[in-house]
Subunit: 118 residues, 2 copies
């Protein structure tokens, strides 16, 4: 499975080329964790959720993809907990009540897995 | 390519089991159009963009997926125009200025295509 992180996210802050982007800070912090071998962290240039960033996507082959937003660059534990639950769900669907509180309140969208050709 | 439509969307209206869902009305109206053979319309039970529905997703193999929201069940022409532009873009990326105005203002999120295994 993959954890995509929007690294161009400024969390609505003015452009400041000297300061690191909030999304890049979040990815750096997540990268410092010890992830299972089947989890790939991937930076993305704009997930187009700019009004509600920082933003991550959880996805994987045969799974629903989930977009979560309104994350701060310090919410590493929240993302890690949500990713672990997602990883444990074969179809990627974690029951709403089982998700971290921030994920319950800040699910931006979800997309079903592709269907097998008919 | 696929056009996914959230058919459980109530557009924030109270539950009324006797009335058709706004998202289902949108799908029905879209289904009445004459689509190219490589476009598949697909109903989805909740795209989890409930606070900003109705919601559609444009996606396809090797393409970026785009989620658009805040659609009314009558915005068939907007969705059709946006879908045609998406279909014409090999990677699914339609320049922001070329999109229908509603799509410019109501892009909920986008997700990159899976990368080839490294």
């Amino acid at each position: 499975m993959e954890l995509l992180v929007c690294v161009t996210c400024r969390q609505g802050a003015p452009v400041d080329d000297a300061a690191p982007r909030a999304g890049a800070v979040l990815l750096d912090a997540l990268s410092a964790l010890d992830w299972p071998g089947d989890v790939t962290l991937r930076p993305v240039e704009c997930l187009s959720n700019c009004s509600a960033g920082c933003t991550v996507v959880l996805r994987g082959a045969g799974r629903w993809s989930y977009v979560y937003g309104n994350l701060g660059p310090d919410q590493v534990a929240t993302v890690a907990e949500g990713a672990a639950l997602y990883r444990a769900a074969p179809d990627g669907v974690v029951p709403w009540r089982a998700r971290p509180e921030h994920f319950r309140k800040n699910c931006i969208a979800r997309i079903p897995p592709p269907e097998a050709p008919r």
